[in-house]
Amino acid sequence: MNTPILELRNIRASYGSIEVLHGVNLTVGRGEVVALLGPNGAGKSTLIKVASGILRPSAGQLMIAGRDATGASANALARAGLCTIPEGRGIFPNLTVRENLLMATYSGHKLSDIEHSTYARFPRLAERRSQLAGTMSGGEQQMLSLARALATDPVILLLDELSMGLAPLIVSELYQQVAAIAAEGVSVLVVEQFARTVLGVADQAVLLAHGKVQAFGKASEIGEDVLASAYLGS
């Protein structure tokens, strides 16, 4: 049995004295794409924060490649190959595109390589390399944040709502890139509100509501009725 690359064991997490995750178990196998679904306020982003090391869980364990990584700092995890694209735009608005890519060199890759791979995938970013990232369109910004995942060839990729505020065409373009990353064997945990967009890419799906896992299984087997009841809260 090969050990899962990412495993959350009985994770509890809280903001101040309000607990948001009440004991969540979740595994992402090697090379697997797991979709994390759930209504607003379910705790999806919180779970991503825990998995990326930004938020320390109040109880439970975070295992990475079979080793206990609870309490490791986010930057150490990032340098070890855990790439996280957080909710909103994962870019520095007051840095130029090129400087944003420079920040990605903490992963150990050379700036020239990162630039090369990014501009090859997204030619639009090449034209805007000296523009402040915050002044680009939402779609371009999201390309830039995804570029970090594409260029630094991570071991695990955590994605939080890539689609937020974007047109369906761009969303599907971005998800093609995600599928390409997954095809290279990168394990992916992806949060998405649009279940149908992501279920096409995912192997497994986990349904989170009220800070607990409500259902999980093969992505193809998650039925409309399960989704509906989770989102509508019936």
Binding site: S14, G16, S17, I18, E19, S52, G53, I54, S73, A74, N75, A78, R79, C83, T84, P86, G90, I91, F92, P93, N94, L95, E99, L102, M103, A104, T105, Y106, S107, R148
Partner: protein, 757 residues
């Protein structure tokens, strides 16, 4: 023409120094959000260090420079960040600013200790002393050219660093989004340490360059560097090019003023006021103007839950506290020598000044660095107004100063946070330079403030004045608590918690702020007006305000008790220094040291202490026992079994070291409580048993012993009896949602809500 060129060069080289200082300030402000008031002091310390290495220990100039700038300064910056600044995340701007004030006080104390002002010091030489170069018909010293060159190099290096290197880009990235920086693999803490190290180097460079131009003296070095703050503000604390431009303008203004004021047609006075103070005030005036024309800062949206929390005392507690304070002071004032009476008097005066910060800073969250200036204005008003110190004169003085306070706040009202604090600092410096230092104001260096004239009571003695100031503090304190409980008080709190919410609810922010400033100025004025003695302008100098602000925040600026604690601590410091001369050096750095701990405990000391007593209030048995103990100690005194001093020390020990631990001792289950009681009783026996009048020869040493006794035995008892029931002080509206309440917490909630279930 030639003259103009000369002064342009002089101005630019002064500006170059300002630019180097200001850029260091901008580097730390943008990366950590902390405006480092101690930046100038860092430069001063670096200049002294360089002097020590170069002229006292005779190292060669390059070596001394290298050690100072590239080893010691960065090290100092790293340690500052690691030890002091890192703990400050999530605290209010008031606390953050106070911590840098603490650092400031600490460094000045340190410099005074290591390089006492009376110590003989060889001259601090300029670089390449005596060498000049001929440019356009005038002689320019190499030192000036080097200074200018340094600024250019700093500008280029900073530009390259911030835009071309990953560390520099990361410094800007942290400002944008700290957690995203981490997700990229960057280490924000390292970035911050680097920024502080860099900033310390810049301060050091400027300090050394400046010391060559000026003298190697603590005060002017620190203050001249403060001038650079104006340049940083012109740059919006953000843009380095504009900061450099601002610095150049400042330097030029200063030089041109110097040139023109030399002319015979230049007015030496205006309406009887000498204008000699103007030159020194130029940077301050520029700072003030730059602050006022700054674009309006946006209101902070949403409520912020700060780490500080303060409770409002009930009326009973407040009145009881006020009365017992007066009684205690009347009681002990009989036992004190004349000099100790004066020290305590000074402590109470400072406490009143600190109290003036409670409504303004504690309640309304507006930082002021000028409390003593208002006290000074109060003293001046009291002495100049007719009536020779009767109650009406006092009232008139307070009113006038309160109006001045509101008037000062009026232009500054649209500022907040650090900008407001700096504008009050600018005001304080202006008043000092242009009003206090006038011969018309302080005739022959000092004025005598008449003693308050109350019918039928003679207070014309140190003891009388002590009792008067303690009474004044108690009354004003009651007034402040009444204010807190009033409608206006709630509006002040709203102003601090969420200006946006307050404004959308229809509250007039301007009026509320003005009221806060006026009230604060009025209270501070009392401290000056009640001086009842000769006062000198140095007493009300801007730099003297800083320790008061600091200790008020250390004591807990949200509470009246905190103000008292802060004031007495500052006053007590002088007692300590007087009593134990060998401790003099420690007392100089003590205010700074206490303030530096603020990051760990932002609510201040007083609220922590009162938290300890709170659980007692519910247990009648323990209260009676405590009271019985107090009466017992008093009985020993009354029957002459123990001396007054033993009574005093034993009483304080009982109150501070025994009472807070009673619950732990009585509720303790294990046998550790026997150990705890044994320790407490030993301490009590020592306090009561020693013949303090004979065994220890001065008041200061007795007080020192008292502090040691309380610290050793009180903390010892507490540590041993530690397994007492713990009460979690979560906010009452959150408890019980996710976790079931324990009986203790239920008790606590009931008390917080004031209900009995």
């Amino acid at each position: 023409m030639q003259e103009l060129l000369t002064f342009t060069i002089i101005g630019l080289s002064t500006g170059a120094i300002y630019a180097v200082v200001a850029s260091g300030l901008v580097v730390t402000y943008t990366t950590s959000g902390i405006f480092n008031l101690a930046h100038g002091a860092t430069g001063m310390l670096a200049a002294f260090t360089y002097w020590q290495l170069r002229f006292d220990w005779d190292l060669s100039a390059p070596l001394a420079l290298f050690i100072t700038l590239f080893i010691l300064c960065p090290l100092f910056g790293l340690l500052t960040e690691r030890i002091v600044m890192r703990g400050l995340q999530g605290t209010t701007e008031v606390v953050r600013l106070s911590v840098t004030v603490a650092l400031f006080a600490f460094m000045i104390g340190l410099a005074n200790t290591v390089w006492p002002s009376n110590g003989s010091r060889e001259a601090f030489l300029k670089f390449f002393e005596g060498n000049t170069i001929h440019i356009g018909g005038i002689n320019v010293s190499w030192h000036k050219l080097i200074t200018f060159g340094c600024a250019v190099v700093v500008a280029i290096v900073l530009r390259l660093l911030l835009f071309r290197t990953r560390m520099g880009v990361a410094m800007r990235a942290v400002v944008d989004d700290r957690s995203l920086t981490e997700l990229n693999g960057g280490r924000p803490n390292r970035v911050a340490m680097f920024a502080w190290a860099l900033s310390a180097m810049l301060a050091g460079l400027a300090g050394i360059l400046l010391a060559g131009e000026q003298q190697l003296n603590i005060e002017p070095l620190v203050l001249l560097v403060i001038n650079a703050y104006a340049a940083a503000i012109i740059g919006g604390l953000k843009s380095l090019p504009r900061t450099f431009a601002g610095a150049a303008v400042l330097g030029l203004l200063d030089a041109y003023y110097l040139q023109f004021s030399d002319n015979s047609w230049f007015p030496q006075s205006f309406m009887g006021f000498g204008l000699s103070g103007i030159r020194a005030s130029i940077p301050t005036i520029v700072l003030f103007v730059a602050l006022l024309v700054r674009p309006q800062s946006r209101l902070r949206a949403g409520t912020v839950r700060f780490r500080e929390e303060n409770k409002v005392p009930s009326w009973n507690t407040a009145v009881l506290g006020a009365v017992s304070l007066i009684v205690v002071v009347v009681g002990i004032s009989g036992m004190l020598t004349r000099s100790n009476t004066l020290f305590l008097l000074n402590g109470f005066t400072l406490a009143i000044v600190a109290l003036s910060l409670v409504p303004l800073t504690g309640y309304a969250g507006q930082m002021s660095l000028a409390p003593l200036t208002f006290a000074g204005l109060g003293a001046v008003a009291m002495s100049k107004l007719p009536g020779d110190g009767n109650l009406l004169t006092l009232l008139a003085a307070i009113t006038i100063v309160a109006i001045v306070g509101a008037a000062v706040a009026l232009p500054a009202i649209r500022l907040s946070g650090i900008y407001l604090a700096l504008s009050t600092a600018a005001f304080a410096v202006l008043v000092t330079k242009l009003i206090f230092n006038q011969r018309q104001t302080f005739m022959s260096g000092n004025i005598s403030v008449p003693i308050l004239d109350i019918p039928f009571i003679d207070i014309n003695s140190p003891r009388g004045r002590l009792i008067l100031s303690a009474t004044a503090f108690s009354l004003l304190g009651l007034g402040v608590i009444a204010l807190r409980r009033s409608r206006l008080g709630r509006r002040l709190i709203a102003l601090k918690d969420s200006p946006v919410a307050a404004a959308t609810l229809g509250m007039n922010l301007t009026q509320t702020k003005l009221a806060a400033f006026a009230i604060s100025a009025g209270i501070a004025a009392c401290a000056g007006a009640l001086a009842g003695d000769k006062v000198s302008p140095q007493q009300y100098d801007f730099t003297q305000s800083l320790p008061i602000v600091l200790l008020a925040v250390v004591g807990g600026v949200g509470t009246v008790g905190g103000a008292l604690f802060g004031g007495l601590l500052l006053g007590g410091n002088a007692v300590l220094a007087n009593a134990v001369p060998s401790l003099k050096n420690i007392t100089k750095i003590m205010p700074g040291l206490t303030g530096i701990t603020l990051g760990r405990n932002p609510s201040g000391a007083t609220s922590q202490i009162s938290e300890k007593f709170r659980p007692l209030l519910n247990r009648w048995g323990i209260i009676s026992f405590s009271a019985l103990g107090g009466v017992g100690i008093w009985a020993l005194d009354a029957s002459r079994i123990i001396s007054h001093w033993a009574f005093f020390i034993g009483g304080v020990f009982w109150f501070l070291a025994v009472m807070p631990n009673l619950i732990a001792i009585i509720d303790g289950t294990s046998q550790r409580r026997w150990w705890a009681s044994a320790i407490a009783l030993t301490g009590l026996a020592i306090s009561l048993g020693v013949d303090w009048d004979q065994a220890v020869d001065s008041t200061g040493k007795r007080l020192l012993s008292l502090i040691l006794l309380v610290a050793i035995f009180g903390v010892g008892t507490q540590r041993v009896a530690e397994n007492a029931p713990r009460i979690h002080h979560s906010s009452p509206d959150l408890l019980g949602l996710d976790v079931a309440l324990t009986p203790d917490e239920l008790d606590n909630v009931e008390r917080e809500l004031g209900v009995t279930i």
